[in-house]
């Protein structure tokens, strides 16, 4: 057998092996999670440390944490992206400084964000273990990806748009509001979804910022348990919690799958339809 045939066989085998392993993994997660899944599981509050009942309050807490994260990071991210694309050249020192720091930020492991969030939001700012602290910590984590996708979205808007606006003597502000941001909306929303997806998958950054409390939160100052933290707690700290953990894992995966699919659909299809090339 020649080296070429051998290499072809090995590469097909590797791909087959990877597919088999991952199909097993997905089948395991789905089959183990499906047994406990029902409508009442999604809306009932957890009982007996999660061994019984559902994940109603957990889903509400997760939603609130994500809401806080997005409400703070989206405006900040969009503003930074606009500054980087529309109000500075790529060579300017300030723009380079901002981009460098964002590169560094995107490489920081989530447990470090957890340490920082605990020290800064919970203790230094006195927010305690709360949904607000958790959401703000996730906001810091989501910033680089939001800014990167928004920057790419704005750069994808053809320069003709800017020149036409300038020819009509529109201010840059009104060009942004009426032309550029609307044109880039699909990319911006796609980036937002991607950020939500990342934040929703996060566990380590939330354990010591938003805490473990699993009852229904009254406000964002209450501690609230995110879905991922719930999975961790059930499988590690609660004897006999595995079945419920599997169901919660399936819910989380379906949620993230929907979010990621919407994001890639927006990025691939809507954006192309929306931009008019002159």
């Amino acid at each position: 057998m020649s080296t070429n045939t051998l290499a072809t066989c090995l590469i097909w085998l590797a791909a087959l092996f990877v597919t088999a392993v991952f199909v097993c993994l997905l089948a395991d997660i789905i089959s183990q999670g499906l047994t406990g899944l029902s409508w009442s599981y999604l809306i009932e509050p957890p009982q007996d440390a999660g061994r019984a009942g559902g994940i109603g309050s957990i889903i509400v807490s997760t939603g609130l944490i994500l809401l806080v994260a997005i409400a703070t990071s989206a405006p900040l991210g969009l503003a930074t992206a606009i500054l980087l694309t529309e109000f500075s050249t790529q060579k300017s020192t300030f723009a380079q400084f901002v981009e460098r720091s964002l590169d560094v930020l995107s490489g920081i492991p989530s447990i470090i964000f957890g340490l920082f969030g605990n020290a800064f939001f919970c203790i230094y700012l006195g927010l305690g273990f709360s949904i607000l602290s958790g959401g703000l910590t996730l906001a810091c984590m989501a910033l680089p990806i939001l800014i990167r996708t928004a920057t790419e979205g704005l750069r994808a808007v053809p320069n003709d748009y800017r020149l036409s606006a300038a020819a009509l003597s529109m201010t840059r502000t009104s060009a942004l509001i009426h032309l550029l941001v609307p044109a880039a909306t699909p990319a911006l929303v796609a980036g937002l979804m991607l950020g939500i997806g990342r934040a929703g998958a996060e566990t380590a950054a939330l354990i010591f910022t938003s805490g473990y409390v699993d009852r229904m939160p009254d406000s964002v100052m209450d501690s609230g348990r995110a879905l991922s933290v719930h999975i961790y707690d059930l499988s590690m700290n609660v004897a006999g919690g595995d079945a419920k953990a599997n169901s919660a894992a399936l819910v989380l995966i379906i949620l993230l799958f929907v979010i990621n699919s919407v994001s890639s659909f927006l990025a691939n299809h809507w954006m192309h339809k929306r931009i008019i090339h002159l």
């Binding site: 997660i29 590169d103 989530s110 470090i112 910033l143 502000t173 566990t203 010591f208 961790y232 990621n260």
Partner: protein
């Protein structure tokens, strides 16, 4: 070009926002340093490597068992997933028919989006019992390596795929025109051309593996010891922080921040050298 009054105002607001976004990373560094300062004042850095054990309550701060667990699990995961990841990328780009390649890539993207806590749960309920049949207790360095390898495989496959995409098609065509076989083209032309990009993606994956917390925490067994075999229970730096932060006080808490600082420095070193390699590969492409 001069800006109108409105534009100047907007520009100012935007600069302020960008400054806040850029300051987050500095803020993180400042807080890590200031929180670890109390213990660094009276415990020299050297003692984190030379103390007899990790017993913060008894003023002993040796982090090397955790450090070796982190490094060994990362190394093991890289050894497994680098060849598989590169093979996956080669498969989608040069071997699979387009429709199959698209499906395969979608599968890999789907897996890249699975949260680490779910990988950990699967490792704990499915993989650990299997490893336990080979050699108890099952939650071990080997299980951690396997789960980490699964987690970073999509990262490597996707980033190597884009490194391969960046190799000019002309290289492939010229080599094919010379009558080289597919493997000869890949081995002699494509892989050398994509070398920097591949190195960068492996380093990025190493950074992710070192920083990974939840999955490793759930499957590694969490005993503070230098691993004496693949089946030994170990505790990584990240898992140690996650486990002890909930009750650590005073110097103990500060020591955990020191561990966090060490972790951050390692990851930043890897990520920035990955960036360096990536830029070098971009430069090569232009010429």
């Amino acid at each position: 070009m001069s800006l109108s009054h409105t534009d100047q105002n907007l520009s100012l607001i935007l600069q302020l926002c960008a400054l806040i976004a850029a300051a987050v990373v500095l803020l993180i560094l400042v807080f890590l340093l200031s929180e670890s300062w109390p213990v660094l004042q009276h415990v020299s850095v050297w003692r984190f490597f030379s103390d007899d054990a990790w017993h913060p309550a008894q003023d002993l701060y040796n982090i090397t068992p955790m450090l070796s667990a982190t490094l060994l699990s990362t190394l093991g995961a890289l050894l497994l997933s680098t060849p598989l990841g590169i093979a996956s990328a080669l498969f989608t780009r040069y071997y699979a028919p387009p429709a199959l390649a698209a499906w395969y890539r979608r599968l890999i993207e789907l897996l890249a989006g699975i949260p680490s806590v779910v990988y950990g749960l699967w490792g704990l309920t499915t993989l650990a019992p299997l490893v336990g049949q080979l050699h108890p207790p099952g939650v071990s360095l080997l299980t951690a390596i396997l789960v980490l390898a699964l987690m970073i495989l999509p990262t490597i496959a996707l980033t190597v795929d884009s490194a391969l995409r960046a190799v000019p098609v002309a290289y492939h065509h010229s080599a094919a025109a010379l009558g080289l076989s597919r493997w000869a083209i890949i081995k002699n032309i494509i892989l050398p051309a994509a070398h920097s990009g591949i190195t960068s993606s492996v380093m990025l994956a190493a950074g992710r593996a070192i920083g990974e917390t939840m999955a490793v925490l759930m499957v590694a067994g969490n005993v503070v010891q230098h691993p004496h075999s693949l089946f030994a229970s170990v505790r990584t730096l990240t898992a140690n922080i996650a486990l002890e932060m909930s009750y650590a006080m005073g110097d103990h808490r500060a020591a955990l921040f020191v561990a966090g600082l060490a972790l951050m420095l390692m990851v930043l070193l890897l990520v920035s050298s990955a960036e360096l390699f990536k830029r070098r590969s971009l430069c090569l492409q232009i010429h």
